[in-house]
Amino acid sequence: MKGTESMDSNTLAGNAVKLAEEIQSVSLKAITLAEEANTLAIKTTEAANEPFIFLVTIFVLAVFIGYYVVWSVTPALHSPLMAITNAISSVIIVGALISAGPLEWNLAKIFGLIAVVLASINIFGGFIVTQRMLQMFRQKR
């Protein structure tokens, strides 16, 4: 009886070791899985924060706003509409100012300054011409 008992305890011990090993490998797998899930999750949030997608969203929504706002412009004011859209598209001056901003002179700064001058012509010219046109539209006295 003693012999069988000792054998049983031996097999038990062996089984226990095997089990322990299995648990270890499973837990290792779980860790790798968790790590993978983690990287996946990070990638997903990265995609959502990707500036391009964010900017495309803004772009598409702005096109829709433009579409509805411009259809409501009265045809009589289509010339002032062209003049004012011309003036406001010169908001490109924002990009020009950034490259004209640093103190040291290089090609980028010169390009920026030229763009500042060109956009300024448009901004002043566009808004003034729009104002001149709009002032002429009057009602019956």
Binding site: A62, G66, I88, S89, G101, L113, S120
Partner: protein, 465 residues
Amino acid sequence: MSASFSAFLYLLSSVCFIMALRGLSSPKTSRMGNIYGISGMVIAVLTTVALPGVISFGTIIIGVLIGGAIGTLIALRIEMTALPQLVAAFHSLVGLAAVFVAGAAFYSPEAYGIGVIGNIKVGSLIEMSIGTAIGAITFTGSIIAFGKLQGLVSGKPLVYPGQHLVNLSLGVLLAVAIIWLCIAQTQSAFWAIVLISLLLGVLIIVPIGGADMPVVVSMLNSYSGWAAAGIGFTLENPLLIIIGALVGSSGAILSYIMCKGMNRSFINVILGGFGGETAGTVDNAGDQAVKQGAAADAAFIMEQASSVIIVPGYGMAVAQAQHSLAEMANFLGERGVNVRYAIHPVAGRMPGHMNVLLAEANVPYENVLELDEINHDFASNEVVFVIGANDTVNPSAKTEKSSAIYGMPVLNVEESGTVLVVKRSMASGYAGVDNPLFFLDNTMMLFGDAKKMCEDIVKALKGTH
């Protein structure tokens, strides 16, 4: 200023620009709209100048002052009849500015946080290429449009064999140059994109005829917006993207309205070569007789009428006749004649061209009606006074299936009791199509310069009382 705060101010600026366009829904709110536009621009510029990287204030102020002075001077001096070419010239500046900003971003990418020289993000390079290409096309395209409108370049469409093939090849070449830039990131690739696009801009506009300019000017307006949006993507600046999208869609809608006014597809206009202002005089002029009258006859007919509808066209702008015309209309108004104006969508050389000229001559805008608003009134109207318009009042657009302008919406002037047509000669209109209106029994032709004719009619009206 923190980054979030400047982002907030840019948002405020965008809202101002949207309100500016919204204001144009009626002449009453339009002046407020312009103030919104100016405020939006001031906010955008000040916010940018307050950014930490922008410190070279002296040179910036000088740049703004130089540009501002030139712009102000031009805008204050320009004649209203020269408005279409002014707008075309302004479009070219936006295009060129876009090219320079893209160049600045290419040579100094770290200033915009998109990489370092020789190692710019591929996404940014693609956006930069698109912004540069559209900007350069807008630049040269607008210069050609300006030349045609100003009369420096012939208004005739310039067509040559293999035209579309040449443009297509250039388009393919442009795509190759963009791929080259993305892979090699060399200066040569960048300038190749600029040069190809500049050439493409010339070749796209050259084949388009003078009277199709309303579409071209609207299209270039749209392009200048898309160029700004392209640069906005490169610089990752939401303000530029929003404004670019607004302006781009605005120009696209105007192009669509103009194309519809001519019953032609956008593609058809862009491919160009339509009509030609040299197209021969009416062939059957010898067979059919026109009734001819003098200023005194016209004065008598209009004075006796209870209602007169005036239909102005590009000829009125060319002759600068708007003031004399308005004076004539005032005289008639004082005699108890109900005078109104009917404007065809494509009358003139830019959208809304006639409305501005009439406004300049102090015509109240309530008296100026669009085609849809007034076209049913011609049947119950007594006298129509057509001045410098031709294709837009051609009844064959409704009946002659073979006509080049068949299907184009036209003003139903022939339904009125008497039609007076002021015209310099019997030459056909832009489309080179005969106009049967001139030979109708109820039409009287008044040959002469539009301005002189109006002045003579005013004299005749004065003489009768």
